[in-house]
Symmetry: C2
Subunit: 362 residues, 2 copies
């Protein structure tokens, strides 16, 4: 694939601040989803897999990882090859607009012609080559000044994602985005799937650093002003202290709502590369290899008349399932979770209950 | 309870050789049911609880524990107060007739007027005072030469136990047993329950040592002969070697079939003392305290919309159940079992599977 070489001036911004309660008990407050090896058959954390996946296009020296102050140490430990100045620790979570804006400021200081690809840290990509081709196309458009997003070709009437309505083509495999659509109800989701010109909003974006900072200044002027103050402080070595003092006054808004939906034109690159947002244990079951009865279990599991189950247990522990169907079973050193696959979202209720009683195991 | 004092010449024989695969993964080949604290709310092993329960009637110096050679060490460790000469290790399992006969030989050597109460090591007794009163009644009858058994007043048409048909009374709360009945089918079990004069065969027996040894000599002459050879060998200090060499030639037959059903008269003492044979994890659930939704779980469990479940996990581990009903969940360091309560007997299939692949975790 000669096309997939290092892209000039490309910078990757990996958003790695999530807490991922839906993967409890594997995930914990200080060991969230992106730091876990949740992709079946891959013993790397999702974050490391993200970093290594884009390496052909963006070397690690030009990768910024944004995480929370609480996770900074664990994140640095997970990615020892990442230059420490490339790790940005947010003092508090303010949604994605401040996160993207701050990272873009850093890029612009270091590379005035920098082009960003913004990536979630916790997605699974089934076909990395196709994924890299899509990123290259997005970076290419962004390097010419466009604001670009990746739209995933939908495979089902999913109500858990936002959608992009796709307009006319402006090039090969690149279109105008007609509008952003909030998570639809089932009926609308089915209409979108039938219509054929709606894609899932993947949360992957491209833009030049100066393009997005200009757009932030125009549409979120308070944030724009503060980011300029960070630039000034950086020049005198006092950025960290200023960020510490002011970050939680920044507007808590997503880059989608705050900026992307307001700029004149957004382009969308359609993608079909085995994308999965690993939203819950159900998706882990979906992605894993199954036995003849639809079970995704450790190799040495004992199965008697059991179907459609997912189990994750510590290596060396044997799990025995008799006469149970469609369960999720997750066993860690200090916690054991059992629930039907269809209720995987309800893990959050468990985490809330543990939080409420100040149980450190959440 | 002035009646419940030490009974003169009483000897208890606790049969503790069982393997208890139905309590896997808590039970293992070398850590069987009787060595585990399976009675809810009691952190003693079932064996220790048995020993301590009878202590008001039979002091430990007059308790014999019969187990397998493989379990001798673990059993001695569990009962350090038991004189070592009171622990009889069978080189192989030959059902209960040789076990009872050998123990009776030991008693007769040490106390020619000894009266035996034979007890399984793995039963749960809910009302110990009532139980001791029944044992006292049985010992009393046996001390006058009778062969006596305890019949449990049935509370359901159970098909998993043998029954005793009860005849005329021969004293207060003591009757002639008309016959032993094998495990019935459901229809017969319902007839027994309706008839009112059928009791469950508990496996608790009483007889003088000389009475049962005479009966063995009459009805199992081969065994009787070998037991006399053991007596002779014991006098010259060579019993262990002879037992080692000959034990697996003894007839493998139960004391019920081999002797009790053949003697002229068996008496039965009816008992109602919260008896439970702890036959499977289902009985553990039955005996445990339940929350308002029928769950028997550790105190710190997180329950969301879950009913009728039983869970046993290591202390300090939190179990979270969401939207699951009537499950048995047993978690140990190296194994995790999940199955519906109604299929608790099928644990044996799991143990067989592990045995078949020579997995040491059975």
């Amino acid at each position: 694939m000669s096309e997939i070489g290092v892209f000039p001036n490309a910078w990757a911004v990996i958003m790695a601040g999530g807490s991922g309660t839906r993967f409890w008990p594997a995930s914990r407050r200080l060991r969230p989803k992106q730091l876990l090896p949740l992709a079946p058959g891959d013993d790397r954390s999702l974050l490391r897999a993200t970093l290594e996946r884009i390496a052909p296009l963006v070397p690690v020296e030009r990768v910024l990882v944004v995480t929370s102050a609480a996770l900074a140490e664990a994140t640095a430990a997970e990615l020892p090859e990442l230059p420490r100045e490339n790790l940005l620790a947010e003092p508090s979570g303010r949604n994605t607009a401040p996160c993207v804006g701050w990272a873009a400021s850093h890029v612009r200081r270091r590379d005035p012609n920098g082009v960003l690809v913004v990536l979630p840290a916790d997605h699974h990509i089934g076909v990395p080559d196709a994924y890299l081709a899509v990123l290259r196309r997005g970076l290419d458009a962004a390097s010419h000044g466009a604001v670009v997003t990746v739209g995933i070709e939908p495979t089902r009437p999913e109500t858990g994602y936002g959608y992009l309505e796709v307009g006319e083509a402006v090039g090969e495999q690149i279109h105008r985005a007609r509008r952003f659509v909030e998570k639809p109800n089932r009926q609308r989701a089915e209409q979108f799937l039938a219509a054929g010109n709606f894609l899932w909003n993947s949360g992957v974006f491209f833009f030049r650093a100066d393009t997005i900072l200009d757009a932030i200044a125009a549409h979120l002027p308070g944030l724009g002003q503060q980011l300029r103050a960070y630039d000034v402080a950086a020049a005198s070595g006092t950025e960290v202290a200023l960020v510490e003092k002011t970050y939680d006054t920044l507007p808590s808004i997503s880059i989608d709502h705050g900026v992307m939906e307001k700029v004149d034109e957004v382009l969308v690159v359609p993608g079909s590369f085995g994308w999965n947002d690993l939203g819950s244990w159900t998706t882990s079951w979906e992605l894993a290899e199954h036995d003849a009865h639809g079970n995704a279990l450790p190799q040495d599991a004992v199965v008697v008349d059991a179907r459609g189950n997912f189990a994750s247990v510590a290596p060396g522990k044997v799990v025995a399932l008799v006469g149970v169907n469609d369960l999720v079973v997750v066993d860690t050193e200090d916690a054991l979770l059992i629930l039907p696959r269809s209720r995987a979202q309800d893990v959050r209720a468990v985490v809330e209950a543990l939080k409420a009683r100040k149980d450190e195991r959440f």
